[in-house]
Symmetry: C2
Subunit: 272 residues, 2 copies
C-alpha cells in the first residue's frame, strides 16, 4: 500500500485508528475456546465489527508466537482474511525485529513477501545495515522504534548522545539511509509533549502511536502536537477495544469502543 492510499483511507473513514490484535486466550470470551481456532475466530469477529471504523490492524507477533504453531496458523489466517476481505486496510506486523543484514533480509521476506503485511516494526539498536534490508521493499513500510510508550524508554532512548537524545539521533540518522521514504516511526502516546520536537525532525512522516487507553496516553494530547498536513498519525488501541467485554457480545462492545475513538478523531479531522 502506498502512503497516498493510506491518507485517502483516513480521509474517507474520518479515522486514523489502528486496532491492536493482541490476542490472549485467557482474556477472550470463553465460548470461543471450544472452536477449532479460537484466536482466528476472535480476530475475525473483531475485524467484521470494526473494519469501517479503523484504517489499520496491528497484530503483536509475540502473542501469536506464544502459542507456537497454532499461533502462527492463526496469524496466517488473520492476515489472509484481512488481505482478502479488506485490502484497503493497512496491516502492521508488530514484531520489533532487527538483526545483521542477511538475517534482516529473512525477516523482511517473511513478513512482507510471504505474509504480505504492509509494514513491520523494527528496532534501531543494530543500526543502518540491520534496517536497510526492510527498506528495499517498495510500497512496504518499516516502522522504526524511536521513543516507546513504556517506562524503560527513559533508560536509553532519552539519554543524551553528543548533546542530543538517543531517539533524536535515531530519527536524524535514519533520514540518511537509502530508501528512507519507506520509513515510519513509533512514538508512544504517553510522551505527547515530545511530539513538537519530533515533528521538527520528521515533519512529513507517519507516526505509529501506541499507548492510548490501558497505558494512559490521550488522543487529544497526541493530536495537539503530532498532526501534520497529511494527518501523519496512526493511533493504536488494543486492550481498550478488543477486551471491552468478555461476553458473547464482545465484538459489538469492541465496535462501540472503536466508534468512540473514531468520533474523537473525526472531531480532530473536521478542525484541520
Amino acid at each position: 500500500m502506498t502512503t497516498h492510499e493510506l491518507v485517502q483511507q483516513i480521509k474517507k473513514k474520518k479515522s486514523f485508528l489502528c486496532i491492536g490484535l493482541d490476542v490472549d486466550l485467557e482474556k477472550i470470551p470463553t465460548h470461543l475456546l471450544s472452536k477449532e481456532d479460537p484466536i482466528f475466530e476472535f480476530n475475525k469477529a473483531i475485524i467484521d465489527a470494526t473494519h469501517h471504523l479503523t484504517v489499520a490492524y496491528k497484530p503483536n507477533i509475540a502473542f501469536y508466537e506464544a502459542y507456537g504453531i497454532k499461533g502462527w496458523q492463526a496469524l496466517e489466517k488473520t492476515i489472509k482474511y484481512l488481505n482478502d476481505k479488506h485490502p484497503d486496510i493497512f496491516t502492521i506486523a508488530d514484531a520489533k525485529r532487527g538483526d545483521i543484514g542477511n538475517t534482516s533480509t529473512r525477516y523482511a521476506k517473511a513478513f512482507f513477501s510471504d505474509l504480505n503485511f504492509d509494514s513491520i516494526t523494527v528496532a534501531p539498536y543494530m543500526g543502518e545495515d540491520s534496517v536497510v534490508p526492510f527498506l528495499e521493499f517498495e510500497n512496504k513500510h518499516t516502522i522504526l522504534l524511536a521513543l516507546t510508550s513504556n517506562r524503560g524508554a527513559f533508560d536509553f532512548q532519552t539519554k543524551k548522545v553528543d548533546g542530543e537524545e538517543v531517539y533524536k539521533k535515531v530519527l536524524q540518522t535514519a533520514q540518511t539511509w537509502k530508501n528512507h521514504h519507506n520509513l515510519m516511526y513509533v512514538v508512544g502516546a504517553t510522551k505527547a509533549e515530545y511530539f513538537t520536537e519530533i515533528r521538527k525532525i520528521i515533519p512529513d512522516s507517519f507516526i505509529l502511536v501506541p499507548g492510548v487507553g490501558a497505558q494512559g496516553g490521550s488522543v487529544s494530547e497526541v493530536c495537539k502536537y503530532g498532526l501534520n498536513k497529511n494527518v501523519g498519525l496512526l493511533i493504536n488501541s488494543a486492550r481498550g477495544i478488543i477486551y471491552a467485554s468478555s461476553t458473547e457480545n464482545f465484538a459489538e462492545a469492541a465496535a462501540q469502543k472503536a466508534l468512540e475513538l473514531q468520533q474523537e478523531m473525526e472531531g480532530v479531522l473536521d478542525k484541520m
Copy 2:
C-alpha cells in the same frame, strides 16, 4: 541449565564453541530437499556430527520464521531433539526480542517454557521493563545485545552518552536490574579490541561472540581480551561450519571445521 553446568561442560569438552543453526534451503545440500522436513534433517545431521565438539547450538529464529509454519515445526523438532538427546548442551534462541512488559512476558514464555530453550537474545533499546520479564526465569539466561558484530553497531552503540558509549551505558545499567545474574551479553568478534573495556564492567559474565568466520572476527583476538576465570566466552560460528560443504558429506565437513575451532579453543584453555 545453570552457569556452573555450562562451565563444567566447557572444561569437559575443552571447547567454548557455539554452532549457529541458520538454515537456508538455498544453501543446504540438494539431496535433502526431497525429505519431508529438510531443515530438521539438516540440523539433525549437523548435531549428530558435531555435538562432542560444541557446548551450544544457536538457531537464529529469523531463518525459521522465513519458512512460516514449516519453519516453526522444524524449530520445534530441532529444540526437542537437542533437549532429548543432548540435555547437557546449552541452547540459544537467537531472537533479538524486546517489547513492552506484558509482551516480553509472552516471548519469555514461548522460548523458555514452551520451547525449553536455555537462553534467548534480547535487544536493550526499550529498557528495563522490556528485559526484566525474561530475567524472572531461574536457570534461564537472557543474552542482551551490547556491541554487535555488524557495521551498523557504529551508528548508535558506540556513540557517547553522558561521556560514555551507549553500549557501556547498556552494560552498566543492566547491572542494576532485578535478577541481573541471569544476564549474558552479545559482543561481536569483529570488535575484539573493545573486550578489555567491557571486561571492566562485566568481569564475571558470559559473553556470546558472533562474527567469527564469514564476518571476519578471530578466535585468538577475542580470547586475548575477553577470557575470564570461568572462560566466560561462547564463540559462535554458523556459515563457516554448517555450509563447509554442499555435498552428501556436508555433516563430516562441518565436523571438520568445528574440530579446527575446538582445537584452537583447546589450545587456549590449556594455557589458562
